[in-house]
C-alpha cells in the first residue's frame, strides 16, 4: 500500500480494495515502527487520523469522495491545526495549541484527507538541513548519516520513506525544493500568492509560500489542486481561478523552450550533480524540447539579498513570541524586561537568534538604506532578470541544490556554507515565481533534484513538464532500501 501513489490509492479506495481506515492504520504502524530512525514526525495524530479515515470511508461509500478523500497526508508543523500542537520546530511553541486551522489545513480537511501528524522542520523554517529543530535533526531515508535538507526536512523524509504519500511544505528560500531534491521526491513551490498563508506561521512574509511534496508530479497536481486558491484572510493571496492541474499533465513537450542559466552551472556546482542534470536535459531533448543558454546576471546576489530581506522580516514577525500570551514563558520573571529576555532567550535556538539579530541590524536607523532598501532594489532587478528570460524561454531548468545531501553536523558550524546550499532556489522566492524539484538520478547513492522554474502562475505547465519526464524515467519511483518494503 505504502508504495502506491495518491492517484493509485484513491482509485483503490473507490474500488473498495481497501478502506481508508486500513490504509491509515498501515501507515501509522509504519511510522511507529520506522520513524525512530528518521525523526520525521514531531506529532503523530493516531486517533484523529483514524476518526478522519472512518469519516472518509463513509464519504467513499456514499460516493461523494473527492480525489484526496481518505488519503493520509502529513502537515509540516508550521501549519496551525486546531487542537493539535503546532510547534514550528521550536521550544518557543512546544506548548502551543492553535485555536484555529490554517486555511491549507481546512482545505485538506474539507477534501476528506486524513492527517497523519505534523512533520519535523528547521526551527521557524530557518535552516537548510533540518538540524535547527528543537526536536532534533531528521535523517535522510537514503542514508541515515545524511541530512534530508530543510526546512521541510520532516515532510521530505516522511514522503521518501513511504510514511505518507504526500505532505505539505513551505518554501521561503528553497525549503520545499531543496529537501525534495535531497530526499529524491517531487516538490512544488507555487507562485507567491497562489496558496494562502493564513495559519502558516510566518518566517519572511514576502517570501513564504506553501506547497506540496509528493513522490510524483501527478500526485502533486492532485494535492496542489486542493491546496491552492484565493483566501480573503490573506491579503497577499491572489484572486484567480485554480486550473485542474491534472488535466494538462499529458500535454506534449514538443517545441518547449528550456533556458539554462549559465550562472547555475559555474563554480560551486558539484560535478556529479552537473552530470545528472545534463542527463535529465538529454531526456527533455528527446521529448522534443529545445535547450538554450540564458543568463540571470544578478544570480550571485541572491544569497546576500535574501539574507538581508528574510531576516529583516523574521525579526519583526517573531516579535510576537514574547512570553505574554502564548508559547514559552520563562520561570518567575522579575519584571517585563526579564520576561522578554529570558522567554525569548530560552525559547529560540541559535539560528533563529542569529537571523533576528541580522534582521534587527539591517532595519536599524542608519543602516536601513544601505541594507534593506538596497536589497529590495536588487530584488527588483532579479525579478527583471527572470522577466527578460521568460521572453526567450518557457521554463528555466538547473540543479535544485549544488550538492547532494551532506552529512549531519557537516555544515552546522559554518552558516555561510550552509546558506549557499540554497543558492539556486532563493532567487525564485525573491521573484515570487513557481519552482519545482523532481528526482533526476543519483550521485554517490544520494538523490539529485532537477529544478524547473516557471513564469507566474505557470504551475500547470511545470507539473506537465515534470510529469512527462516521469513518464519516461523511473527516478521518482525509486525507494530508499530501508524503507521500500
Amino acid at each position: 500500500m505504502h508504495n502506491k501513489s495518491i492517484v493509485e490509492l484513491s482509485q483503490a479506495l473507490r474500488a473498495g480494495k481497501f478502506s481508508s481506515v486500513e490504509l491509515t492504520r498501515h501507515l501509522l504502524a509504519r511510522i511507529r515502527r520506522l520513524d525512530g530512525r528518521l525523526n520525521s514526525f514531531v506529532t503523530v495524530t493516531d486517533e484523529r487520523a483514524l476518526a478522519q479515515a472512518r469519516a472518509a470511508d463513509q464519504r467513499l461509500a456514499k460516493g461523494s469522495a473527492g480525489p484526496l478523500t481518505g488519503i493520509p497526508v502529513a502537515q509540516k508543523d508550521i501549519f496551525c491545526t486546531a487542537g493539535i500542537r503546532t510547534s514550528c520546530g521550536s521550544r518557543m511553541l512546544d506548548n502551543f495549541i492553535a485555536p484555529y486551522d490554517a486555511t491549507t489545513v481546512e482545505k485538506f480537511n474539507a477534501a476528506g484527507a486524513v492527517l497523519l501528524g505534523k512533520t519535523n522542520m528547521d526551527e521557524f523554517a530557518m535552516g537548510s538541513s533540518n538540524e535547527t529543530s528543537f526536536y532534533g535533526p531528521v535523517r535522510n531515508p537514503w542514508d541515515l548519516a545524511a541530512v534530508p535538507g530543510g526546512s521541510s526536512g520532516g515532510s521530505a523524509a516522511a514522503v521518501a520513506a513511504r510514511f505518507a504519500p504526500g505532505a505539505t511544505g513551505t518554501d521561503t528560500g528553497g525549503s520545499i525544493r531543496q529537501p525534495a531534491a535531497l530526499c529524491g521526491i517531487t516538490g512544488i513551490k507555487p507562485t507567491y500568492g497562489r496558496v494562502s498563508r493564513y495559519g502558516m506561521i510566518a518566517f519572511a512574509s514576502s517570501l513564504d509560500q506553501g506547497g506540496v511534496m509528493t513522490r510524483s508530479a501527478e500526485d502533486a497536481a492532485v494535492m496542489l489542486g486542493v491546496m491552492a486558491g484565493y483566501d480573503p484572510r490573506d491579503s497577499t493571496s491572489v484572486d484567480r481561478p485554480v486550473p485542474d492541474y491534472t488535466k494538462t499533465l499529458a500535454e506534449p513537450l514538443q517545441g518547449l523552450k528550456i533556458g539554462l542559466p549559465r550562472e547555475y552551472f559555474g563554480d560551486g556546482l558539484d560535478s556529479g550533480v552537473a552530470g545528472v542534470i545534463d542527463a535529465a536535459l538529454r531526456e527533455y531533448r528527446k521529448l522534443g524540447a529545445e535547450v538554450v543558454d540564458i543568463s540571470l546576471p544578478n544570480s550571485a546576489l541572491a544569497v546576500p539579498v535574501y539574507y538581508v530581506i528574510a531576516p529583516a522580516e523574521c525579526s519583526s514577525n517573531l516579535s510576537r513570541f514574547d512570553g505574554v500570551r502564548f508559547g514559552h514563558r520563562c520561570d518567575k520573571p522579575r519584571d517585563l524586561e526579564d520576561l522578554y529576555k529570558r522567554s525569548r532567550g530560552e525559547g529560540f535556538g541559535a539560528e533563529v537568534k542569529r537571523r533576528i539579530m541580522i534582521g534587527t541590524y539591517v532595519l536599524s536607523a542608519g543602516y536601513y538604506d544601505a541594507y534593506y532598501l538596497k536589497a529590495q532594489k536588487i530584488r527588483r532587478l532579479m525579478s527583471q532578470d527572470f522577466s527578460d528570460a521568460f521572453r526567450k524561454v518557457d521554463v528555466i531548468m538547473g540543479p535544485a541544490s549544488p550538492t547532494v545531501a551532506f552529512n549531519i553536523g557537516e555544515k552546522t558550524d559554518d552558516p555561510v556554507t550552509m546558506y549557499l546550499s540554497d543558492i539556486y532556489t532563493i532567487a525564485v522566492n525573491l521573484a515570487g515565481l513557481p519552482g519545482m524539484s523532481i528526482p533526476a538520478g543519483f550521485c554517490a547513492s544520494r538523490p539529485v533534484g532537477l529544478q524547473i522554474i516557471g513564469n507566474y502562475f505557470d504551475e500547470a505547465r511545470l507539473l506537465n513538464i515534470a510529469h512527462r519526464y516521469q513518464q519516461v524515467t523511473d527516478w521518482h519511483t525509486r525507494a530508499p532500501a530501508e524503507f521500500g518494503e
Binding site: 490554517a102 498563508r197 519572511a204 512574509s205 491579503s235 497577499t236 525579526s315 516579535s319 500570551r325 532595519l363
Partner: protein, 478 residues
C-alpha cells in the same frame, strides 16, 4: 526678551468603524476585558491582517473635508517595539506614504478673527491595547479589546502660536470628525487624544527652538493648561541659562505639570519597514468621488449659511454649529417656531445650553425637544406668553410637564393682553399708592419701575410687559 511660542498637534482619532482595522472583531467600547479580541488582534502565530475598507473611506472623507491631497497609493509599515499591550511586537501604521497629505483648516479665534492651520498629514494606524495596573496584586493586566481599533493620526504644521490657538484647532478637528461621522469624539473613552509639540523662540527669530512633546492631553481644558505650563517652563529654563532638550513629557492633570517620561521609554528605534502582509492601498478617482458624495455640509459652510440665511451674528452661528446635533436642533426649533430665527437662537444658546451644561447632558439627550422649544417660541411670538413667563414654561417642560401649550394651560400662564383689563389694574395700583404717584409726578422718574413692579405683582406676572409700559407711562403723566 519677548518670546514666541510654536505649537504643532498630533491628534489621534478613533474611527467609528463597526469592526477593527485589520480584523473582524467588534470595536464597541466597554466590553469585559479581552472579549473583543480575536486571534488576529491577539497576534497568534500565522494570522494575517486584512484592511477594513470602511477605515480607508473615513480617512478619505477627512482628507476631502480639509482640502487635502488623497494619496492614490499609500503604504502600511510596521513600527517595531516591544510592549505587552502591543501583541504583534509592532504597530501597523502608515509611515512614508500616508493616505492624506497637505490639508488646511480654518480656525476661528474671535468674532472676526480666524487663522488657517496647515495639516501636514493624516495616516491610518491601529490602536494598541491597554495595560491595567490596578487590581492585579502587583502584576499588570492586559486588555486587548482596543488593540486593532482604527486610528486616524492627524498631524498639524507647527502653525499655532498660543495655547488658545491650539485648543481652538483641537476643538475644530473635534467638531469636524463628528460632523463627518467618522468618530464619536468621546474623550473620556479615549476616542480623541492629543499630543502637543511645543517650543519657544525669541520673537523675530526664524528658526524653531527645541521642542518638547507633551503626551496625554485628553481634554480641551487640559491642553491649554498643559501648554501654558510648558511654555513657562521652557522660558524659565532658557532665561535661567539652561537649554530645552528634545524629549517626551507627560501631562499630569492632578499636579498640573508636565514631567519627562523615562528616557528608556523614548529610546526606541522603531525599525519601520513596509508591512509585507499588506498590499499598498490603491485609491481610485471613482472611490474618491463616491466618498465626496457622502460629505455633509461642513461646519464652516453651515456657519456661513446660518449668518446669511438666519441673520445670526457670527458668534451665535459659531456656537450653534459647534456640533452637527446642536445645529440640527436649532434648525428644527426655528422651523417649529414659525421662523423666528433670532428668538430660536437666543433660546438655544441661552436657556437650553445653560440647562444642558448644568446637568451635563448632550443636546441629543435634552428633555426639551426642538419641537417643544419651537412650540414655546411660537407662543412668545404670538404674545400668548411673555419672555419672562416663557422661562417658567421652559423649566416646566424641562421637568417633564409636557409641551408649552400643556404647561401654559395647566398653570394658567396665558399673558394678559386685554388693554381694558390692564388699565383697570393700573388704575387700582395708582389709587393704592397716592404718595408714590405724587412723588413721581413731581419728578421722581425712578419710581416708574416701582409701578411696573406693582402691576406685574397684581397680575402674577401675566400682564404683557410692553403694554404695561405704554399704558402706565400715559396714565402716570396724568
Amino acid at each position: 526678551m519677548e518670546w514666541e511660542t510654536v505649537i504643532g498637534l498630533e491628534i489621534h482619532v478613533q474611527l467609528a468603524t463597526q469592526s477593527k482595522i485589520f480584523s473582524g472583531a467588534a470595536t464597541a467600547y466597554g466590553a469585559p476585558p479581552n472579549t473583543q479580541a480575536c486571534a488576529v488582534d491577539l497576534a497568534f502565530p500565522g494570522v494575517l491582517p486584512v484592511l477594513n475598507e470602511a477605515a480607508v473611506r473615513m480617512a478619505v472623507k477627512f482628507g476631502l473635508a480639509v482640502n487635502a491631497n488623497v494619496a492614490r497609493r499609500s503604504v502600511f509599515a510596521r513600527k517595531n517595539y516591544f510592549y505587552p499591550d502591543l501583541p504583534k511586537g509592532y504597530q501597523i501604521s502608515q509611515y512614508e506614504l500616508p493616505v492624506v497629505e497637505h490639508g488646511t483648516l480654518e480656525v476661528q479665534l474671535g468674532d472676526n478673527e480666524s487663522k488657517t492651520i496647515g495639516i501636514t498629514r493624516a495616516h491610518l494606524e491601529e490602536d494598541a491595547g491597554k495595560s491595567l495596573h490596578e487590581d492585579f496584586h502587583g502584576l499588570t493586566g492586559i486588555d486587548l479589546n482596543r488593540a486593532g481599533t482604527p486610528l486616524l493620526e492627524i498631524v498639524s504644521e507647527p502653525d499655532m502660536r498660543s495655547a488658545a490657538e491650539a485648543a481652538a484647532y483641537m476643538k475644530k478637528i473635534h467638531t469636524l470628525v463628528r460632523y463627518l461621522e467618522i468618530s464619536d469624539g468621546n474623550m473620556q473613552e479615549g476616542s480623541f487624544r492629543c499630543d502637543a509639540n511645543v517650543s519657544v523662540r525669541p520673537r523675530g527669530q526664524a528658526t524653531f527652538g527645541t521642542r518638547a512633546e507633551i503626551k496625554n492631553l485628553n481634554s480641551f481644558r487640559y491642553i491649554e493648561r498643559a501648554i501654558n505650563h510648558e511654555i513657562e517652563r521652557q522660558i524659565a529654563l532658557i532665561e535661567g541659562g539652561g537649554t530645552v532638550i528634545q524629549e517626551t513629557r507627560l501631562y499630569d492633570s492632578a499636579a498640573d505639570e508636565t514631567r519627562p517620561m523615562r528616557s528608556k521609554e523614548q529610546a526606541n528605534d522603531y525599525r519601520y519597514f513596509p508591512d509585507p502582509d499588506l498590499l499598498p492601498v490603491e485609491i481610485s478617482e471613482e472611490f474618491i468621488e463616491q466618498v465626496r458624495q457622502t460629505l455633509p455640509e461642513l461646519p464652516d459652510e453651515k456657519r456661513g449659511r446660518f449668518v446669511y440665511e438666519y441673520g445670526l451674528t457670527p458668534y451665535e452661528a459659531g456656537v450653534l454649529t459647534a456640533s452637527r446635533e446642536l445645529a440640527d436642533f436649532f434648525e428644527a426649533t426655528e422651523k417649529t417656531s414659525g421662523g423666528d430665527a433670532k428668538l430660536s437662537a437666543n433660546w438655544v444658546t441661552g436657556e437650553l445650553l445653560g440647562a444642558l451644561n448644568k446637568y451635563g447632558l448632550d443636546v441629543t439627550q435634552s428633555p426639551v425637544t426642538a419641537a417643544m422649544l419651537g412650540g414655546m417660541i411660537r407662543r412668545i411670538a404670538d404674545n400668548t406668553i411673555s419672555g419672562k413667563l416663557a422661562k417658567q414654561v421652559f423649566e416646566a417642560m424641562w421637568n417633564g410637564e409636557g409641551d408649552a401649550d400643556a404647561v401654559i394651560a395647566a398653570k394658567g400662564l396665558t399673558q394678559v393682553t386685554d388693554t381694558a383689563a390692564i388699565e383697570q389694574v393700573i388704575d387700582e395700583v395708582m389709587q393704592q399708592n397716592p404718595e408714590q404717584l405724587a412723588a413721581y409726578r413731581s419728578g421722581k422718574d425712578k419710581l416708574f419701575g416701582f409701578f411696573v413692579g406693582q402691576v406685574m405683582k397684581a397680575t402674577q406676572g401675566k400682564a404683557n410687559p410692553g403694554q404695561v409700559n405704554d399704558i402706565l407711562k400715559k396714565k402716570l403723566s396724568g
